[in-house]
């Protein structure tokens, strides 16, 4: 069993790095925490970065998860090798570009690019967004899957994810106590389906709803409240069509043995208990 601690960062290719940076700072409300030739790093919490945009193919998208020790990282590499995933160990230069001690890169059964990383940098500098979006941190990703059963098995049997709830066949999975750190949604090709940042509360969700609308950003779902995690949410579109989410009030699961995963409708009412309907391909039949 591969023990993952948390989701750490996303790396997104873009053909318009300047535009992506403008959006990340002025709309999303992240803070630039570093630059490299052809790449910009963004901070959303105490971590050195939780998002990196780089010049490249927009379909080149990677999600990273933290592993607790070098030994566990090597064991994970061996396990994945044995299962036939082609595992690549990051070079020193690649580690430096990711602000991690070591990492392995591979593709999950769907073909999503995944990195398992060791000792990602935390920085002493507090996150302070340019705009007051109320962000408290990067929290989860949705990944695309064209075989939800197969991919749920990978994340829950090869790795340590536990299913907290399902919407249709789409599993919301926890790594720690947060209701979900990773979720799988039906889509025909690999990639990151959405990137979530937590915000402080209802006021932040609602102010951002009006802010992004006024800035002609496409709101694709919400404001609403998920019946699964009980979080209030807002989904909207970012550079290269990426879906970003703000949410607040996600339930924490502290009593592992007593939690029972629940089955929700793969219909608007399974996604929102206020009455909003998603305009997001992977959330619709």
């Amino acid at each position: 069993m591969i023990e993952l601690k948390d989701v750490v960062y996303c790396r997104l290719g873009t053909t318009d790095l300047q535009g992506a940076e403008w959006y990340a700072v002025n709309i999303l409300g992240l803070e630039v925490s570093g630059r490299r030739p052809g790449a910009v790093y963004f901070k959303s919490d105490e971590r050195q970065h939780t998002l990196c945009y780089f010049e490249g193919n927009p379909e080149d998208q990677t999600t990273a998860f933290e592993i607790g020790s070098a030994q566990d990282l090597n064991l994970a590499g061996a396990t994945l090798d044995r299962l036939g995933h082609s595992v690549r160990y990051g070079t020193r230069e690649e580690c430096e570009l990711r602000h991690v001690m070591a990492f392995i890169a591979f593709k999950d059964p769907m073909g999503n690019q995944i990195e398992f990383v060791l000792r990602p940098d935390t920085s002493a500098q507090a996150y302070h967004g340019t705009r007051d979006a109320g962000i408290t941190g990067f929290s989860h990703v949705g990944l695309c899957s064209n075989d939800l059963e197969r991919d749920e098995a990978f994340w829950t049997q090869v790795c340590n994810a536990r299913v907290s709830d399902r919407i249709g066949d789409a599993p919301l999975m926890r790594l720690g106590t947060i209701h979900h750190s990773i979720a799988l949604f039906p889509f025909h090709k690999p990639g990151i389906q959405h990137i979530n940042h937590q915000v402080g509360g209802t006021d932040d969700i609602q102010r951002s709803f009006n802010f992004v609308r006024e800035n002609r950003v496409n709101v694709t779902f919400g404001p609403g409240r998920h019946p699964t995690s009980s979080a209030e949410f807002l989904y909207f579109t970012g550079p290269e069509g990426m879906t970003f989410e703000y949410s607040s009030g996600v339930v924490e699961i502290h009593d592992e043995p007593l939690w029972r995963d629940r089955q929700f409708h793969f219909e608007p009412k399974g996604f929102c208990e206020w009455g909003s309907a998603p305009n997001i391909a992977a959330f619709k039949n």
Partner: protein, 286 residues
């Protein structure tokens, strides 16, 4: 000298058509049609036997506040007279129409009648609306005023209300301990601007907002949050040409007395929600 009122009791509003008002009150607002007479409909929102009365006769709209004793009723009568306004005792017939034991009425400068009532009818049967609105109570009435100073003076001196906050020239009156039950807004017209029903929490604000949209009702303000009262709200426009709002519980009045908020739209909505009405935009953002 001034009495503490028990509550905001009811709103009486003239409507052009009782059938349309009956459908609107029950199906849209989620109130319960409790009583009806030939010319009037009485809707419940809580234990009050009625919180809103729609009628067709050609009389001025009225808003009511409750006193706890006959002595208080008499002292309010004197207080209004001494402030320079002319109160009238309600006749037995008028009291019956209002489902009260006794009361007085006085015209506010904006033409809205203010009924001060004693022993209004409470229902022994629980309130249950037609849809899950989350309604818990009649929360507030908003009044439009062409002469805001005259109306503020009336509510302060004649009625004995306590200012809990100003937003520009708009003023919020505490009459029973809550942040406000009466709010006055500067306007280019006089009369009733709207009525607010309290709901349990923000979930109900948002569900009602989606209900408005699915029902193709105009959303004139919100979903938003008043920085003054702290309540989240959403507002539509309906029968009798007034606003109907749902709002979450208000914060207590500010401990150090009334605060002045700037004359901007943000003083009426901390979420910067779109607004179709000049009354909530503030003079600086119109």
């Amino acid at each position: 000298m001034s009495v503490l009122y028990r509550d905001l009791r009811y709103l009486r509003l003239k409507v052009p058509n009782l059938d349309a008002a009956a459908r609107y009150g029950a199906d849209i607002l989620g109130l319960k049609l409790e009583d009806q007479t030939e010319g009037a409909l009485y809707f419940r929102s809580d234990a009050r036997n009625h919180a809103i009365c729609f009628y067709t006769e050609d009389t001025a709209p009225a808003v009511a506040i409750t006193v706890g004793s006959k002595a208080d009723l008499e002292s309010v009568f004197n207080q209004i007279s001494q402030a320079g306004y002319t109160p009238f005792w309600l006749s037995e017939g008028d009291a019956e129409k209002r489902q009260i034991k006794a009361g007085l009425t006085v015209a506010a400068p904006n033409g809205v009648m203010v009924d001060v009532v004693w022993r209004p009818l409470t229902s022994g049967w629980p309130f249950h609306g037609s849809r899950p609105t989350g309604i818990t109570e009649l929360a507030a009435v908003q009044l439009a005023c062409t002469d805001i100073e005259a109306n503020e003076a009336f509510w302060m001196n004649a009625i004995g209300g306590i200012v809990s906050d100003w937003a520009g020239q708009a003023v919020f009156f505490n009459i029973d301990g809550a942040h406000h039950r009466i709010a006055l807004y500067p306007s280019d017209r006089d009369g009733v601007l709207g009525v607010t029903f309290g709901v349990e929490d923000t979930d109900h604000i948002m569900r009602n907002w989606y209900f408005f949209q699915q029902s193709q009702l105009p959303v004139v303000h919100g979903p938003g949050r008043q920085p003054t009262s702290g309540a989240s709200f959403v507002s539509t426009r309906g029968v009798g040409d007034i606003l109907y709002s749902y709002a979450t519980p208000m914060d207590a009045p500010h401990a150090n007395g009334p605060r002045q908020f700037p004359d901007t739209a943000q003083s009426h909505c901390a979420w910067n929600s779109p607004c179709m009405l000049d009354e909530f935009k503030g003079a600086l953002d119109k």
